[in-house]
Symmetry: C2
Amino acid sequence: MRKQTKISNAVIKRLPRYRRYLNELRKKGVDKISSNEFSHLTGYTASQIRQDLNNFGGFGQQGYGYSVEGLYNEISAILGLDKEYKLVVVGAGRLGQAIVNYTYYYKSGFVVKGIFEIDKNIIGKNINGVEVMDYDNIVEYVENEKIDIGVICTTRDAAQEVADKLSFAGVRGLWNFAPVDIETPAHVAVENVHISESLHSLVYHMNKNDEGTEKKSRKK
Amino acid sequence: MRKQTKISNAVIKRLPRYRRYLNELRKKGVDKISSNEFSHLTGYTASQIRQDLNNFGGFGQQGYGYSVEGLYNEISAILGLDKEYKLVVVGAGRLGQAIVNYTYYYKSGFVVKGIFEIDKNIIGKNINGVEVMDYDNIVEYVENEKIDIGVICTTRDAAQEVADKLSFAGVRGLWNFAPVDIETPAHVAVENVHISESLHSLVYHMNKNDEGTEKKSRKK
């Protein structure tokens, strides 16, 4: 694995976005892109982009720009997206099913191996071809199957306990969708996702728009 | 509606998070909180929090701190979360079903009125009690039902066209889950959500952890 220095979290948050745009360019058959063009596309300044990529050794060539395929592969490797990861989802309720669906939809590199649930009525069923298993057996399963990532789709109240159990069982990362920020031991990475926050930002901007502009002609 | 000056996007992104923590405090029966305590809880500095809230006129009292219920209500009103919003979801595939499930799960203030689809085999069915309708009729429906927000759960290729149609029909905001950034007229707000980006950040941090720490005792 490449040698890496300590990179700020803000940079790490931008890399998946860079990668996404590069992927789109790849699919369109674009070979290279200048930092100015890439700036225009991503909405970040060219100097921001150069600075971010210099953290990892640059990749750009003066007067040429960036190789789309090259930079895509480099960022993928930096993020660790050149490998496959095994996931378990905890909670087979609406939220858990939604996330299994979502992960299935964007399946590249991430495989949901099992869903765990305490509700005996749901255990044994399957969701998108993934078996719903008894939460009582999760530690053994995670150990045996060498699961990398636990996805927490439980209620707020259960989330921390599930996180503790998964950390004990040996996952390396937790992707938490319960509406509470969970804490993990230092060796277990965690991302707390709050989709509703983007909806709340949206509503704010909608209402700002309505204040600032003439009402549209739609009859209300 | 309260008078508001121009607030930076970064502040607006933090408000839903402040609100979420305040909601947790409310539910625990906490009446007031100092800016230091609130800083500890949210992970933002006390000075950052004070600065953010000063954009809207403060709310804190010297030597008392913030009223939890009061600040929660103020932030809700600033964001526009003291009202109800009507949504339509476009795309009844895995992703659309996932988002309907998700919105249903976090239903406060947001009502999914209809799901629109081009696949004739799915039209007429229902998902979580919401009818799947023919995408051909979406403009009329959005106009008649005075839909506020369109949720885009289509493929990447269809997303911009759907956004254009919904904007024409009169939605005030678009919540986009298709894996592409869509553009809207100035009077239509948009939030492009890329859940996979948080998964990619997670993987980066997992791999960093593995470099920095001794391997755990788990047999691999």
